[in-house]
Symmetry: C2
Subunit: 122 residues, 2 copies
């Protein structure tokens, strides 16, 4: 009875690789910040807690995936502006839904965590 079709989410499905790329917290937040085009340090300042290294990596990954465009501003002084591509903009809605869900359900989740942790102690 255990046929091949039991395996719904196969490892070799490209969607799995893509999920790996986008399903992380910083991508959600970076995409949110880039609703308007911004420069590197602008993004960094708005995402309290991110390090320059991780921000660079995240932006590179998003750029490679075609979700973010990188544009060097005619200088000096040096400047680089990041913005959403059409593909990146198409992610705004689903990612926004996640973020909104998070905000809406913060209270419920924190209550659940307290309940769980209390039960653990016993």
């Amino acid at each position: 009875m255990a046929s091949k079709s039991d395996l719904i989410y196969r490892v070799d499905c490209p969607s799995r690789a893509i999920l790996d790329q986008i399903a992380d917290k910083w991508s959600v937040l970076v995409l949110a910040v880039l609703k308007e085009p911004r420069r590197f340090n602008e993004i960094k300042r708005r995402l309290e807690g991110i390090t320059q290294r991780v921000l660079t990596q995240t932006l590179r990954r998003l750029e490679r995936n075609g979700m973010v465009a990188r544009r060097v501003l005619p200088g000096p002084p040096l400047g680089v502006e990041y913005s959403l591509t059409p593909l990146g903009r198409s992610l705004e809605r689903p990612f926004g839904a996640i973020y909104d869900w998070t905000i809406e359900n913060m209270g419920v989740i924190q209550a659940a965590q307290r309940r769980y942790d209390r039960a653990e102690d016993a």
Copy 2:
């Protein structure tokens, strides 16, 4: 000019902690599998590539966050069934949107990646 409000996504906002909890690929896939209640090894079989350790951790985390319910089946033989709570079910829509987006845009993304990688070589 650089006021405190520039900092949209503060580290101390609980939503950031919650995003940490849910924004990973396995949560998306586990929640998808649990559209119907399933037992541990059923889930594991359907999520090709996940190890038992990681699946356990993911389920525990989802349980702690109040998104998944764990129920020990009257045995023997032993059995444990996992199912979505109402909170978990409320995540189906936004997570499903992410998954659908992934499927729809696989081709575009892979093309972008090839383009990027080719440009890198040069």
